[in-house]
């Protein structure tokens, strides 16, 4: 279990950062999720997918425990400098573009951002993503449709977007 978690951790952390929209909260969320996973290791069904199980747990921890606490402690408004996910990347042209893309995805509402990460970045099917987010497949579809529309507008016309 622990070896599996170590292997998944970078992806879990990336998911946590996308879910929370901030690196520092992503750190907290990924760590709390690992602790919770170790607590509940006996509930993990061997032969099923550890990554999906942990991603599902990550969302539960975020929704049930961390999000309200984070927002209540006055950090509800996201400072611009926190949006950059890849803040230590060298400033090559590609990395500047990557940062721009990440900010734009990060500017999506939480549910859309989360769906984009699971389906477009992680490559989960609609059905798998629906199971991870514990929502109907139709909701995944409408979140992605919404995300596509917004990203299309922002990315095609940067001047109109929050950039």
């Amino acid at each position: 279990m622990r070896d599996g978690m170590v292997a998944i951790y970078p992806r879990l952390w990336r998911y946590a950062v996308a879910l929370t929209g901030r690196r520092d909260w992503g750190d907290d969320l990924a760590q709390t999720t690992c602790l919770r996973a170790l607590d509940k290791a006996d509930q993990f069904e061997v032969g099923t997918h550890l990554d999906r199980w942990m991603f599902r747990m990550c969302q539960r921890v975020w929704l049930n425990e961390l999000r309200s606490r984070k927002v209540r402690t006055g950090a509800g408004v996201m400072p611009v400098e926190e949006i950059d996910l890849a803040d230590n990347a060298p400033g090559t042209e590609v990395n500047i573009l990557a940062r721009q893309v990440l900010s734009q995805v990060n500017a999506l509402p939480e549910a859309q951002r989360q769906s984009v990460l699971l389906v477009y970045v992680e490559g989960f099917s609609y059905k798998e993503a629906a199971e991870i987010m514990e929502i109907p497949v139709g909701t995944v579809m409408s979140r992605l449709a919404g995300a596509r529309k917004k990203l299309n507008t922002i990315m095609a016309n940067p001047a109109k977007g929050p950039s």
Binding site: M1, R2, D3, G4, M5, V6, A7, I8, Y9, P10, R11, W13, R14, D27, Q31, C34, L38, D39, A41, D42, V46, G47, T48, H49, L50, D51, R52, L85, A86, N88, A89, E93, V94, L97, A98, V101, L102, V105, L117, V119, Y120, V121, E122, G123, S125, Y126, K127, G138, M141, L144, A145, A147, R148, K149, L151, N152, T153, M155, A156, N157
Partner: protein, 258 residues
């Protein structure tokens, strides 16, 4: 085909993501041929997928290691069965490629482009570039063929070792491509008469669907689904041999799906 069906953004999104079922896929593909407004709506849903995945790949490289969470007082299950992230083996190569693509896609984005299309349409366009000569010179040994099939099997999650030989088709090459972050297997064959034919497999929804004949980009296609996978046999302008070949592959795919 004349009824002007209106598609929702959700349906168009599913189409773009390769998640539309065969019926929706073919209705939208057909409508796109004639309906300009639909093409525009589709274009308004297009996003620079390669740039997005490349950007998030760079985040992964940035991820901290898992912190030491203290001694675990829990039994360790033997099989953690992590998702085999397809393409991880070629990730290093792909990162460079994706970075290049990110620039290309990003700088090209926003300029007028043809409407985006579903996976079948992409495969069909690609297949139209194949000629007899493309495949004639390729002559893999049985060992090479087995190695290629083993590699793509791992990528897609189906065991292709026992892929049947359809009468009249000679195996040429198996490779793992990708469509919107999903693995896409392409197995190339040359028919006796020199027609290039390809069998393609992509992860799909849970419902099985029977064999359907049709056309894309001027090539004949045969499509069917098993739970979890979509299959496409494509090539030539003669439906009769294609249907026969498709049945051989379909029977095999149905057998391994159960």
């Amino acid at each position: 085909m004349t009824d002007p069906r209106t598609f929702s953004d959700e349906e168009l999104t599913a189409f773009l993501d390769g998640e539309a079922d065969a019926e929706l896929e073919s209705v939208i593909s057909a409508a796109l041929e004639t309906d300009e407004a639909l093409g525009e709506r589709m274009a308004a849903l297009d996003i620079p997928m390669a740039a997005i995945t490349a950007a998030f790949d760079s985040v992964l490289a940035d991820a901290p290691a898992m912190p030491d969470l203290g001694p675990a007082a829990v039994p360790a299950p033997a099989n953690t069965n992590t998702r085999p992230r397809w393409g991880l083996g070629i990730a290093t190569f792909a990162t460079g490629l994706a970075a290049g693509l990110a620039v290309a896609v990003f700088t090209g984005f926003g300029t007028p482009e043809p409407a985006p299309r579903g996976w079948v349409s992409f495969v069909a366009s690609y297949q139209t570039l194949y000629t007899t000569d493309t495949l004639q010179a390729i002559d893999p040994s049985p060992q090479d063929a087995a190695l290629q099939l083993a590699a793509v099997s791992e990528g897609i999650g189906i065991d292709l070792a026992a892929l049947p030989q359809a009468q009249g088709l000679t195996f040429k090459r198996a490779q793992l491509l990708g469509f919107n972050g999903k693995p896409l297997v392409q197995i190339s064959y040359l028919r006796e008469d020199g027609t290039p034919v390809a069998l393609c497999i992509i992860p799909a929804g849970p419902d099985a669907q029977g064999l359907n004949m049709g056309a894309a980009e001027g090539l004949d296609v045969a499509r069917w689904n098993t739970p979890g996978f979509g299959f496409l046999l494509i090539g030539g302008q003669d439906a009769a041999p294609l249907a026969r070949e498709a049945e051989t592959f379909r029977d095999w795919s149905t057998d391994i799906a159960t």
